[in-house]
């Protein structure tokens, strides 16, 4: 009977796992891809690659956890680099950082498509629904990256660090660091992702005239400071926030008020950390007085 033919990768009697769990890092996912090919699971149409922390155990499906393996990850990376090039790899990484529920599986089908058709520019084939899904996810991640580059609001602290809190939809800190590193070379700054509990920090004393400092990762910031950064504001900070609020209010044309458009461009979930959206209607400092 065909369906009971011995599978060389598995002892007879063990079911083929249709779910492969990876440790939630890009390396973890690459290791899982290696595992799938090493165990010849790649033709299983029901195969799913799921991040460990998102997996809800079920009675029907059987899941296998893959331990990250640097060597395996590296081998997959080299192969994918060769198949997809820089821009293709960028798509995979950005897609991965979306942390979407099914992204591990989508990425896998894209990778399999690339491996099956090594001479095809598969990333251009948006007629393939997995490629399309990835391209659209990359677009959302790109949009979030751009929004974070726009909506980060630094607050100057008593330590002379410009500090910002964010809660991005996707894990975009690894993508926005370079933009801020190039731009703010002559000030200390940090951006902290409250949702994911880590941040990036630029210490200008490590920079030289020709080379901005390398970014550092920071974790475990004081909860009290994160909730109320005003406690560490420098003497000038409040003044400039008020200037900004006065500017923001007065550059608006009230005759053209358009709340729907306003919300479309500036979705409400971002307002929390925008000082210009914390203005009381009759605040003294927004009035036009000489």
């Amino acid at each position: 009977m065909l369906e009971l033919a011995p599978n060389t990768a598995y002892p007879v009697g063990q079911l083929t796992p249709s779910i492969v769990l990876y440790e939630p890092s890009f390396e973890g996912w690459l290791s899982a891809v290696f595992y799938v090919y090493a165990n010849k699971l790649h033709d299983d149409e029901a195969l799913q690659l799921i991040a460990q922390d998102c997996y809800v155990p079920s009675l029907i499906a059987q899941a296998t956890s893959v331990v990250p393996n640097e060597e395996h990850a590296e081998r997959v990376l080299v192969k994918l680099n060769q198949l997809l090039g820089r821009s293709g790899m960028r798509n995979l990484l950005w897609g991965f950082l979306s942390e979407k529920e099914h992204i591990g599986t989508t990425l896998f089908w894209v990778v399999k498509y690339a491996i099956d058709y090594p001479n095809r520019h598969i990333m251009q084939d948006v007629g393939n629904l997995h490629v399309l899904e990835l391209v659209q996810t990359v677009k959302s991640v790109g949009r979030e990256k751009h929004r974070m580059e726009a909506f980060v609001r630094f607050e100057h602290t008593t330590d002379d660090i410009y500090f910002a809190r964010v809660e991005p939809d996707f894990n975009v800190l690894p993508l926005i660091g370079e933009h801020f590193r190039q731009r703010y070379q002559d000030q200390h700054w940090a951006i902290y992702d409250i949702t994911r509990g880590y941040g990036i920090y630029y210490d200008k004393s490590n920079s030289t005239v020709t080379r901005p400092a390398t970014l550092q990762t920071i974790t475990d910031l004081d909860d009290a400071v994160l909730r109320r950064p005003a406690s560490i504001h420098s003497a000038d900070e409040r003044r400039y926030q008020q200037f900004w609020q006065g500017y923001f209010t007065n550059v608006n044309i009230t005759e053209r008020k358009n709340p729907r458009l306003h919300r479309q461009y500036l979705p409400q979930r971002y307002w929390k950390y925008l000082s210009e959206k914390q203005i009381l209607p009759n605040a003294e400092h927004i009035q036009k007085r000489r």
Partner: protein, 422 residues
């Protein structure tokens, strides 16, 4: 440097932001300045909108007037001499301080500095240039700087401004000569175009010299722009579009902005206070402008002399397609890119996707939808390999009414107030 009086600065900022708000340009794109040598700021090629005001406009730059004192009395301008409005003036150091501090907090991409004209054009322009010079040299600021060229300022000052600024602009204000003569008798189109010509010539000169001397200074790397007010005088869209087309071709402008007139002054030469801002018309003009700059349309195709206004009920590309059904249906599997971007509901990005994806697949309306096309409009104009039953409508008698009825915006109620102007 003089100490800054921070107590008074808030009031000044509020007044001079308010006075600058009718200048539409907020773009911070096309900057190429890199942060070299550990300074502050690094241009973003595509520009960044850091916030949006409640009117839905982008806040990218600190857009202020140096002063709203003005010797001119242009009817449409809130800073006109005869208007009873609070006046204020920044010092050069105050503008520098606000720009640096806002930039450091990631509020802005840079500075847009304009001014009312005090004493004379040169005196005003000198101060604008001084701000830009201090930012670039003393503060080592590499963010975006957009300076307004003041009418009547000397050529030498314009040339100096272009060395520090990323972009220069002079507003043509009113699209027709007769309209300008009526509303701003002290200004003329020729006088306003003169600095445009100077800047354009210098851009060409510097571009040539950079071919041989790589280190030659850059001159307004983001080019120059202009703005005109629509709805303040009785200009037609045909006149507006033709003037823009002329600017793009003759002066190589990067952008022309259209500012729907907001009635805020009582003057019998102007629409009465309370007249709705012509926002739909303004929107259609921008769409038409895009068609000229990115879609390969000529001005003569967008508005035709026999009906000199844009169709407010539908976008100008759809309007063109309805007038010229002889060009449709377009087969997305085989047509050229140039023809695909002319299909209503398909933008440049989708058109590019179509051209690459069709090598792999026979594209269907479903694919188009997934790629982001507005299929509700596009479907009447497209031939695919499979059958497209919507094409049957293309030859209908009342095609325009039919398509408009099917593609009506759900926000019509909110926008219809605008139409009363005409």
């Amino acid at each position: 440097m003089a100490a800054i009086n921070y107590e008074r600065l808030q009031g000044k900022l509020n007044i001079l932001a308010d006075a600058a708000k009718y200048d539409v340009s907020c773009s911070s794109s096309a900057g190429t300045r890199k942060n070299q040598g550990g300074g502050l700021g690094d241009a973003s090629k595509t520009g960044i909108c850091h916030s949006y005001t409640e009117d839905g406009r982008c806040v990218s730059l600190l857009k202020i007037l140096l002063t709203n004192h003005c010797i001119y009395d242009c009817a449409y301008c809130t800073s006109r001499k005869s208007n009873d409005t609070p006046r204020a003036a920044f010092t050069v150091e105050e503008v520098v301080d606000l720009t640096m501090q806002f930039y450091r907090r990631n509020y802005i991409e840079g500075l847009f500095l304009s001014s009312g004209i005090f004493k004379n054009g040169d005196y005003t322009m000198e101060r604008l240039v001084e701000v830009a010079k201090i930012l670039r040299t003393r503060e080592r600021f590499n963010g975006y700087i957009h300076l307004k060229t003041i009418p009547g300022a000397s050529k030498e000052l314009l040339l100096e401004a272009g060395l520090y600024a990323d972009r220069l602009s002079v507003n043509i204000e009113i699209p027709t000569k007769s309209g300008l003569a009526l509303l701003a008798p002290e200004k003329s189109h020729d006088e306003l175009k003169a600095p445009m010509q100077t800047v354009k010539e210098e851009i060409v000169t510097i571009r040539e010299s950079r071919k041989t001397h790589k280190k030659a200074p850059k001159f307004t790397p983001a080019g120059q722009t202009s703005q005109m007010i629509v709805g303040a005088s009785n200009e037609t869209d045909l006149q507006v579009i033709q003037l823009s087309s002329h600017f793009y071709q003759t002066y190589d402008l990067k952008r022309v902005y259209y500012s729907g007139y907001v009635p805020m002054l009582s003057d019998n030469r102007l629409p009465a206070i309370g007249t709705p801002v012509p926002m739909v018309r303004e929107n259609r003009l921008y769409q038409a402008d895009w068609l000229m700059r990115f879609y390969g349309f000529g001005a003569h195709e967008i508005v035709e002399p026999e009906s000199p206004f844009l169709d407010l009920d539908c976008d100008p590309k759809l309007a063109w397609a309805i007038r010229h059904r002889e060009h449709f249906p377009v087969n997305i599997q085989t047509a050229s890119y140039e023809m695909i971007v002319r299909i209503p509901g398909i933008g440049t990005k989708t058109a590019k996707k179509i051209v690459t994806a069709r090598k792999f697949n026979q594209l269907t309306l479903y694919h188009l939808k997934k790629m982001g096309a507005a299929v509700n409009r596009a479907k009447y104009f497209i031939a695919t390999t499979g059958k497209n039953e919507h094409l049957a409508h293309l030859t209908r008698e009342n095609f325009r009414q039919y398509v408009l009825a099917q593609t009506q915006t759900k926000y019509k109620d909110q926008r219809s107030g605008q139409l009363a102007l005409f």
